[in-house]
């Protein structure tokens, strides 16, 4: 009979891998969804429809990383990234690398691959919003595994922003967002948009229920 003491359970291996070597990225405004912050070397998905707050949340995570002096990258599939929106968060854009892919999904995936393998980035945002689901469904699952392996044990966090989950099991965090309502102040013709209220849930943490998330415009 072989000595079974030398054998380990697969779940134990997983636990050993999860021991964080690098400090997590703390997200103060998203504490209810990520109580321990975002572990480095992990893949995060932010999903939701239009006006669900997915872009605002993604840019907030980018801003948190940039505010710590890290270099970040934004791979913009449909040239829809608004630099002014990120600058509104109060961070400078000098440490942001923006790649515009003009709607070419293959270019976006290859650019992500190159940047992740170059290493040294804090957060790499892969913005796939607005892409046709037919095109996204053609992306082989091996791509996401490759990305996961590329960032493993590195300080980089890969953030995928899309309408529907793409990386699925490769993602360590998955934040699903749903628009709830808009907050207005005043009546027409003097009405002003003040906030967007969303409902968000971290699908990878089933213990956390959907919670409201208020995204403000900055108008009092």
């Amino acid at each position: 009979m072989a000595n079974t003491a030398r054998w380990m359970k697969a779940s134990d291996l997983q636990l050993a891998r999860e021991e964080a070597k690098l400090p997590a990225l703390e997200l103060h405004r998203l504490k209810p969804f990520f109580p321990n912050g975002l572990q480095r070397g992990s893949l995060l998905e932010v999903n939701g429809g239009q006006s669900s707050g997915r872009t605002s949340t993604s840019l907030y995570i980018l801003a948190e990383s940039i505010s710590r002096g890290e270099t970040c990258a934004c791979i913009d599939l449909n040239n829809s990234f608004c630099p002014a929106s990120l600058a509104q968060a109060g961070v400078g854009l000098e440490q942001l690398c923006w790649v515009r892919c003009n709607g070419n999904t293959e270019h976006a995936m290859r650019a992500a691959d190159l940047l992740l393998h170059a290493g040294g980035f804090g957060v790499v945002l892969l913005d796939l919003c607005g892409a046709r689901s037919k095109t996204l469904n053609r992306i082989p699952l091996s791509y996401w595994f490759r990305f996961q392996r590329a960032i493993e044990h590195t300080p980089t966090i890969l953030l995928i922003c899309s309408e529907l989950p793409q990386a699925r099991s490769c993602a360590r965090y998955s934040l699903a967002m749903k628009k709830s309502k808009f907050h207005w102040k005043g009546d027409a013709p003097f009405a002003v948009l003040t906030a967007l209220e969303s409902t968000a849930q971290n699908n990878k943490l089933t213990s956390i229920r959907p919670e409201p998330l208020l995204i403000q415009t900055g108008e009092a």
Binding site: S56, S67, E70, A84, G90, G92, L93, H107
Partner: protein, 423 residues
């Protein structure tokens, strides 16, 4: 021990020729060459024998010069310039030999370190020769004249110790090659360029330098092709430089077979950055530059960079610039989640139905719906002093499809556009 040859009427090349017979390392100053004779002691013998050998070499070259041998280069030069014939000084007796030298000789010898007004001061004190100066107390001279006075006294005493000032050979960072057969493919050309780049980088590293700019001239059958690459950080790794060159040549290949090339690297001081344990991660500059060049080759150079917001109120005004190599410091932490926009580039042309001067129904490419609530209009305009002036009325509209859009109407054409969606 050092020997110095001084001649007023001989050419510098003749002096160097004679000196080179005895030492490869020669210091050349105005009509004077100086070299070390310490290694000759074992080959030739005593300083007297060395002096006679130098005199014989000078006679063979028909050189009329004064020779001085002293323990340090400065004393040897001063003695060779001042005394005719052969002057030999045993170590420790430099002060005696230099005693009769007028002070003006010292000032003529080192005009860089010794200001002329110092000579006036010393002459007013009645100090005219090296002997007078050497007799002054060192501490008192230092207090009154500073470091220059101290240096002057050391010169007069013959106690300045320094190595020879050798002229470094100018390193060339250019390699030219003419090919016997023209090259049509990029691969063999890159093979030759890699060797040239490797050789140039070797020269750069030998001089503790790095390259900030690369210039390549490809000789084609008709017009030569010029390539100029500027690196964001100084590079000295041939693989990185070659990869950048390859990516550029793949994007802009030569239009005709290549008959030869000229590769030049512009040397600069390398960038040395001290890393820190507690500093956040940043990509390695050379690796990042190669990565961005690869991505630029794929999506176009105009689509990669760092956004810089322009100083204007025009919506979506930005410029893309190369990623800076300097590390930015910590910035303020975002205080709240801010509502961001996703822009439509270019803006979507829309059909808008108005009721009581407010949008009621909107139809654009991929967008159709009834307006549930709106805010606006906000009139914006700018650049009216240029031909690119703009005037528009902006609205925020919530449609029944659940999304919130920013739309605007051009005041000049009365056309409607969907600018962005709040997300």
């Amino acid at each position: 021990m050092y020997a110095s040859l001084s001649a007023h009427h001989a050419s510098a090349s003749l002096l160097v020729e004679v000196a080179s017979r005895f030492s490869p390392e020669v210091e050349l100053s105005a009509q004077t060459v100086t070299f070390s004779i310490a290694p000759l002691r074992q080959l030739i013998g005593s300083p007297h024998q060395i002096a006679s050998e130098i005199c014989r070499a000078g006679y063979e070259c028909k050189l009329q010069a004064s020779l001085a041998i002293a323990a340090n280069p400065d004393s040897a030069i001063l003695l060779a310039r001042h005394f005719r014939g052969v002057t030999m000084v045993t170590p420790g007796e430099e002060r005696l030999k230099l005693a009769s030298l007028p002070l003006a000789e010292l000032f003529a010898y080192d005009a860089v370190k010794l200001a002329p007004n110092l000579l006036d001061i010393l002459l007013r004190w009645g100090i005219k020769t090296c002997e007078d100066l050497a007799a002054l107390p060192e501490k008192g001279l230092s207090e009154r004249l500073g470091a220059a006075g101290l240096y002057l006294r050391q010169l007069a005493c013959g106690t300045v110790s320094r190595p020879l000032r050798l002229k470094a050979e100018q390193t060339s960072y250019t390699i030219e090659k003419e090919l016997e057969d023209s090259l049509e493919l990029l691969e063999p050309l890159l093979f030759l360029l890699s060797r040239a780049a490797g050789e140039l980088c070797h020269r750069l590293r030998a001089q503790s330098q790095a390259a900030r700019q690369l210039e390549l001239q490809l000789l084609l059958n008709e017009k030569p092709l010029f390539v100029r690459l500027e690196f964001p950080v100084p590079l000295s790794d041939p693989r990185t430089i070659l990869k950048l060159l390859q990516l550029h040549l793949e994007r802009h290949p030569p239009v005709a077979p290549v008959r030869g090339f000229r590769l030049h690297l512009e040397p600069v001081e390398p960038q040395r950055v001290q890393g820190g344990i507690f500093l956040p991660p940043t990509p390695a500059p050379d690796k990042l530059h190669v990565t961005l060049a690869r991505i630029a080759g794929m999506v176009g150079a105009e689509n990669v960079g760092t956004p810089v917001l322009l100083n204007t109120h025009r919506p979506d005004a930005f410029a893309l610039t190369p990623l800076p190599s300097a590390r930015a410091g910590n910035q303020p932490v975002p205080e709240m989640l801010r509502l961001a926009m996703r822009l439509f580039r270019p803006a979507l042309q829309a059909q808008v139905q108005l009721v009581h001067l407010a949008p009621k129904n909107i139809a654009a490419s991929g967008i159709r719906g009834r307006v549930l609530r709106h805010a606006g209009p906000w009139k914006t305009s700018g650049d009216w002093w240029t031909t690119a002036s703009w005037t528009r009325e902006e609205w925020d509209v919530a449609l029944d499809d659940g999304a919130l859009y920013r739309i605007y109407q051009e005041s000049a054409t009365h056309e409607w556009f969907v600018h962005a969606v709040y997300d």
